[in-house]
Structure formats: C-alpha cells, structure tokens
Amino acid sequence: MKYISEFRRSELAQGLLSRIQRQSKTPVRFMEFCGGHTVTIFKYGIRQLLPKTIEMVSGPGCPICVTANADLDKAIALSQIPGVIIATFGDMLRVPASDSSLQEAKAGGADVRTVYSAMDALKIAGDNPDKSVAFLGIGFETTAPTIAASILQAEEKGLKNYYVLSMHKLCPPVIKALLDSGELKLHGLVCPGHVSAIIGSRPWEFIARDYGIPCVVSGFELLDILQCVEMLVNQVESGKSQVEIAYRRGVRPEGNHEALRLMGQVFEPRPALWRGMGGVPGSGLKLRSKYQRFDAEFAFDIRPSPPREPAGCICGEILRGVKTPANCKLFGKVCTPQSPVGPCMVSSEGSCSASFLYGVGLEG
C-alpha cells in the first residue's frame, strides 16, 4: 500500500539500526506515549533490535486503557436506560468495568452496537427516530474532532436523538502530570503521530524547554519508529532538547487548523479521571453549553454505583510506565486476551495485550 510499504523496507531499517548502534553511548530511557507505537515496537521486536543502552517504556497513550471505571460504569448505566442505543468503537465492548462490561450488558438485553466511525452512529440515529442513540466519545485529540464534526452534522441534519457521552482526553496535560510525579526518569519522548496531526508539534515544546527532555513526533511504521529513535539519540548525544518531527508526511508544526477549530467550537477542557493517574486538571473535554442538548450526561439521568477496581490488577502502574506486564502476577495466568482482568489486556494497543500477543514479557 502506497505510503505504508515503503516505510517497512528492511534494508533501510538496517541502515537506521546501524546508525543508532554506532551513535548511542549514553544509557537512556525513552517513552513511547502512544499505544499505536507500542504495537509497532512489539510487532517488529524493536526493543530487542536496539542496543542495550536504550530502554523503551510504554506510556498511557491507549484511550481504552486509561478510561477510569467510574466512566465505564456510566456507559453501562446509560445502556440500561429504556430506549437508549449505545454506539461504540469495538474495543470498548469487552473492557471490564466495576461490575460488568458492555458486552455483558448487551447479553443481558441492552442495545449496544459496534461502529467504525461516528458517521455510522449518526446513521443509526437517522434510522431509529424513536430511539435515543448515545455514542461513547472515547479517544484523544485524534478522535475528538471527528466526534465534534458528528455533533455539527447532527445539528445540520436536525437529528434530535443523537447524544455523546464525552470521555475524551487530552495528551499534553497527562504527560505533564506524569513528568511532575517524578516517578519515572525519561531521556526522550516518542510523541504521538496522529494526535500531533491534529494539534501540531508546538504543544510538546514545554517538555523540551521546561523538563529538558528531547521530543520527536513519530509515524507508525517500522522506519518511522527507528528514525524517531535515531533522532532522539542524536539529540541526547549532542546535549540538545528540542521538538522535532520525524513524521513529516503527516504532521505540520501548526497542526490541522480546521480540526482544532471544530473541536474548540463543540468542546471545552475540564478535569478528567485517568486510570492509574487519578484526576488530571484540564485533561478532559466536555460539550460546551451551546451543544448541551447533545450531551448524554445532561440528557439522561445516569446513576452508576460507586466504582471498584479489580484486585491484583496493576494496569494503573503499567500505564504510568513504572511497571511492565511481566511484573503483574495476573499476566498470562488469570488475565489473558480471552479473559481479560484489566483494560491493558483488552485493547489491542494495551501493553499487556501486545506483550501477550508478541511474547515479550513472558520471559520474565
């Protein structure tokens, strides 16, 4: 496929690896924030290909994984309200909340439908005028503008039965919270490519400037990740900390103006709850009062029970990068992709699922 296969060529990967091996002298720890990057890294065995001087740790960049039980419980409570159809991205279905999952709610009679796009949810709303369609707004800055667009489309079409339960999260504030916690010393950040396609590379500048951590925005293919690591090593070894873009075909420093405009028109920042990190100021999005009639939290009386966490699950610590799946007593034994205990095993982008699938971490 054009612009995919070219970025997987092994002879070019060899060149980048050879340069990384030659240039890397200082022991460093780099974090890949994004779950999509985690998958590429595990799929190609990049951790094993890199020299011993480079440690890669996974960050909290998996929207399904970081959704707190309190929010998942709301989605399940919403599915129990008569006349409500829940439309959601597929990965959400199997995530265990405090007492059940959406899949179990569906088995119990709730109308829960998997969609590929917010456009599909709009279609369901159009086809079912006597029902209320609530779309679960999950995702970072990459996804939030698409949900904003869907709300504006619903307004344009005069749809009166389309709602969004916004659980959207913003990336720069949570990285700040992670760095401020002081739990983890990082020497470089692989910045998320498709979040940056929307917000640009400028929102990462505070990390390079205030924390002295080199930042490189990466794409999602093998060569993208290796080029990003090579650029991070280069910054470390020359004593620099700045924001660079490796993924230049997809990201511009200023981001996507129209997407940012629509996101800002529909949503405003609010505090959000992150699994493993608790409340992070300004890291969530809620619908602006002008669009309140599309807000599921405003339109329905959602009353979940107080949230509970599964015993023994360390997803929270894994998401903060302070523990790995291999540190978890449940990993691969009680908790598997067939029977997941925590969200990092459910989402295909979760560290636990990627470790299980590609055999990394099982070695102990």
Partner: protein, 74 residues
C-alpha cells in the same frame, strides 16, 4: 486507537469523498480537511480524513533514509 491510514481521494461530493485504501473504496468524511482535492492522499482515522498527506515530505524522508542506509553500508 489513533490508528489512521493513507487513502487516495477518487471523487468528492459535498463534504464526503470516495477514497481508495489498499484497493478497497470507502466513503470518507472531509469535514476536517475541506481543502482536500481529488488525487490527494489523506490520512483517514475512523472514517474521517484528519490531514492531507504531504507527498513531497514523504519522498524527502525516504531520500534521507536511503542516504543513511548508503552511508552506513560504506
């Protein structure tokens, strides 16, 4: 979940387009990239084009990677 892939725009009608992704044609939304034209590659996430792929930059990046591979071989 921020998965997005390049697609070639074949035709545009209002704010939607027919786009080819690996030989398959799909209907995508251009709400976030109103400036996209037929013949552009766009990066598609959950049915929405989130950016226009910069083909010149893609070639430039590949050129740099080929140079690195060449230099490392020598």
């Amino acid at each position: 979940m921020c998965l997005a892939i390049p697609a070639l725009i074949k035709s545009i009608e209002d704010k939607e387009a027919e786009a080819e992704i690996g030989g398959i044609t799909r209907r995508i939304s251009l709400w976030l990239t109103p400036e996209a034209k037929v013949g552009d590659y766009v990066i598609v996430h959950t049915g929405y084009a989130i950016n226009i792929l910069d083909q010149k930059e893609a070639e430039e990046t590949l050129k740099i990677l080929r140079q690195i591979a060449q230099l490392e071989e020598d």
